[in-house]
Symmetry: D2
Subunit: 156 residues, 4 copies
């Protein structure tokens, strides 16, 4: 992994503002736990209403926090007047997400002018406190230049 | 697409029961709208707390209902005493999920003894009533034989 | 699938020229068998030196012709003064590629100014003449504007 | 990454034998350059007949050696009387494969009884001798138990 230099010194505030506008993060109880150049971590504690049919975290929750962790990891390296959208991602579910906490660690693999590629590891904290890699995501993001994140999007 | 014959005549009830145990579906307000052999559809009306930072449906919601639609499409063709888990999926976000309803239509591409492959189209119903393809998923599922769906999983 | 209108009437000649510059296509004996707006087909007859360890077509050959079929399907809809590069693809191998001919049919799902998404089906023609879907690819392509295909690239 | 213990002490010979039966590896001039428990590397020198339309290595060559590097990395950990097949893979092309040598380094992420997941990095050695990450693959493999690799497959 390279070391990345952010182009906008206020990258962390920019990520926090955008995260706060993601309604879904409030709904599922997710929190931003790390913001560094090229790296963002999001965690969510277990609740029964986040489950799939066997009571584990639903793959959709895993995918949701992984997608945001990767997207914001890329976004830390974007210029100020820009916005980020996910183009596509692929996720391998490596082990059941059976535990009390889910943690997605997104890291930039390549940061280009138009496209960025991130990798995200998702860990589940078991009831006994040990952690286990439960998913890996490989993701492509696109930079929307000249469209600040809080001026893009749906009215209301 | 082939025509598929279910091995378990009670496949629809089995899908409905399993869906009802997915806590996340209640949380986001998703509904099962079609169950046929090799095909399942799930829809979710827009709410602000399902949004990403621009107010559109979050890709995680798209991924969540697409993953369940594909998983249950595969599950309609499984034997009675079995369970389904997602191995991996890849999703392309083709257009912003900007509208009042999201609808994921999952279809089986290949149904094998151990592995199944599904394709899922996600449509967004715009505010003017028109529909638009906003995502496509390609997904791999695994059959857990001899483990009925309601006897697998997390205690409590 | 939508019906697509090419922006450059000489799209087929442009695809043929580019294909002829792909050294790998000559090496493996691949032929362009269909070129239509938003659709390209490539076929390759079986040879022992295209095999994996069990004597079937190697997944790399499947991936190679599928990648070019999808890439050129997208390219049929590009403007004249442009070039195409694959950003990423995902391929599911649905059945052993065991037969005398492999045929990749690439189709555009979405054609955007910067990014295109294609889906490719690969069929294997068995020794008894029947055909079978053996792979499906979902692929993202990028348009390089202002860089004609024959003026991009490696010297020599 | 975990450290992996092979179940079959003759894993390296098993990989070499299987590789030698992959006709495509001879055709493109690929060589096995590392075999360790859970890790395999394959390299291929540049030739004009491995190129895409701009003269770089074709993504299909990148995909071919990456697929085999990941598949054999998984296979080092399989029991003696087994065979390996790729279920699916996803590859991101991060930079043009423009150089004199391509090197795919496959590593096991998860080794399960039925399914394994590998990650493969592909590096291109530029003409000036420097190396650059040009692709990353995330791949799912399946173990065929009770079917030794040299007794599976196509007659003749």
């Amino acid at each position: 992994m390279s070391v990345f230099a952010p182009r906008d010194p206020s990258y962390a505030a920019r990520v926090r503002d955008s995260f706060a506008r993601q309604g879904i993060m409030g709904l599922i109880g997710a929190r931003l736990t790390r913001i560094e150049p090229g790296l963002v971590e999001i965690a969510v504690p277990y609740r029964k209403d986040l489950s799939q049919q066997h009571g584990f975290f639903h793959a959709g929750v895993t995918g949701t926090i992984a997608d945001s962790a990767g997207g914001y990891a890329a976004y830390t390296l974007f210029p100020e007047d820009s916005s980020v959208l996910t183009t596509e991602y692929k996720i391998n579910l490596l082990a059941p997400a059976d535990g009390r906490m889910l943690r997605a660690l997104g890291r930039v693999v390549r940061s280009g002018r138009t496209l960025s590629v991130c990798e995200v590891d998702v860990f589940v904290e078991r009831d006994d406190g040990t952690e286990r890699l439960c998913a890996r995501m490989l993701q492509t993001l696109i930079t929307l230049h000249g469209r600040a994140d809080d001026r893009t999007g749906r009215a209301g």
